[in-house]
Amino acid sequence: MIRRNTIPFGPQHPVLPEPIQLHLVMENEKIIQALPAVGYIHRGLEKIAEKKDYIQDVYLAERICGICSFMHSQNYCQGIEELMKVQIPDRAKYLRVIWAETHRIHSHLLILGLLADAFGFENLFMRLWKVREQILNIMEKTTGARVILGVCAIGGVKRDITPELSEYILRELEAVEKQLPELMDSLLKDYSVKQRLIGVGVLPKDKAHELGAVGPVARASGLRMDLRETGYAAYGDLDFKMVVGEAGDCYDRTMVRVKELYTSLDLIRAALKRMPQGPISVAVKGSPPADEVLARIEQPRGELNFYIRGNGTRNLERFRVRTPTFANLPALLHQLTGCELADVPVIAICIDPCVSCTER
């Protein structure tokens, strides 16, 4: 006879460095129902943004989340630029792509490492994070900070990449790429890893669409959806191939991220090569007009939406953030139902959750 077990999974739980509670109802260790309790990390950022002026908000936006912080500032700046009808120089667009893609690499390596930790592969975790440090070095050298870069500004970017730096970046990327195959093989071909990933947390294509999944989660389920295809920043000038999976399980999500690492490496190289000379920013005067805009970019975790509404003053009327994890949560709940407790960390990490941006 089987009875129901109820346990809280989080908020203080070592596998989720971020506080979120999954309320799990299980039979033995099989999850019957999973519900999230959030709000542990809700800071009221949207309100703070209304109080600060719209330039200070760039720094605030960066701190929506520290992992792909650059992309938050990028999306915010692009939104304000659209609102204020500012044309930024081309070089700035390329620079934004470079930093955004380094962020994507660091974020993917980070989550792949945490995934390895989630299924108890400590060695792989350490090795992946070691590689990630090299990416952080690139960011530190080019922007002066390791994770929260602070280089994006309304009207362009704040720092330039000199030819020497560019060469340095290429060298580092080379070194990173050399270390990848071994680690990626462990992630994708190792027997024990495959045991833990294949067929776990399956999200069929139609479900993914219906539940509004985004990013690698959606792509792993076979949805062709990557906002970089819309060509914002300099993506329009750069070629890249979208990575899609089909099974929609944890293995495919891992595979998508692994392949995107390579895409990003190529994108950075291409951007460095084709980056035009010129200024890196334009001066922006005035305040955002009373209008509204929905700015979107593709983050490591998927589509990020900022709804920005100005009112003619230096303060914004409304700033709303819809992050990819917010969109992926319903899909997560769907995946958790019916899985084993042992798979909860794996599935949870596999959507690459970022609660801090979810709750702001």
Binding site: Q56, Y59, L124, K141, T143, E182, S186
Partner: protein, 100 residues
């Protein structure tokens, strides 16, 4: 698995990746934003930095003349450096050190 075992043995026989931090200090790249400081004698106490600081970490008073930074609020964004008309705020490379 086999290739990982291989690389495990390689790791075992090669020196560690560890930077041995407190014993050895890392060479920080140029332009790293560490702790914020001021060349106080250039300052005109105009208050521009205080007004712009997104984190309310600065306090500037004209009378008596003082410039106060709360390192426990400063987010090291560098905005104050940008806006200072005298360019007297500087960012050292090394980090703020924790107190006890």
């Amino acid at each position: 698995m086999i290739n990982l075992i291989n690389s495990i043995f390689r790791k075992l026989t090669s020196p560690t990746d560890c930077l041995r931090y407190p014993f050895v200090k890392r060479e920080l790249p140029e332009g790293t934003r560490g702790r914020i400081d001021i060349e106080i004698d250039k300052c005109t106490f105009c208050g521009a930095c205080e007004k712009r600081c997104p984190s309310n970490a600065l306090k500037v008073t004209r009378d008596p003349k003082s410039w106060t930074l709360n390192p426990y609020s400063c987010i090291i964004c560098g905005y104050c450096i940008e806006v200072c008309p005298k360019k007297c705020i500087i960012a050292h490379k090394e980090h703020y050190s924790p107190n006890v």
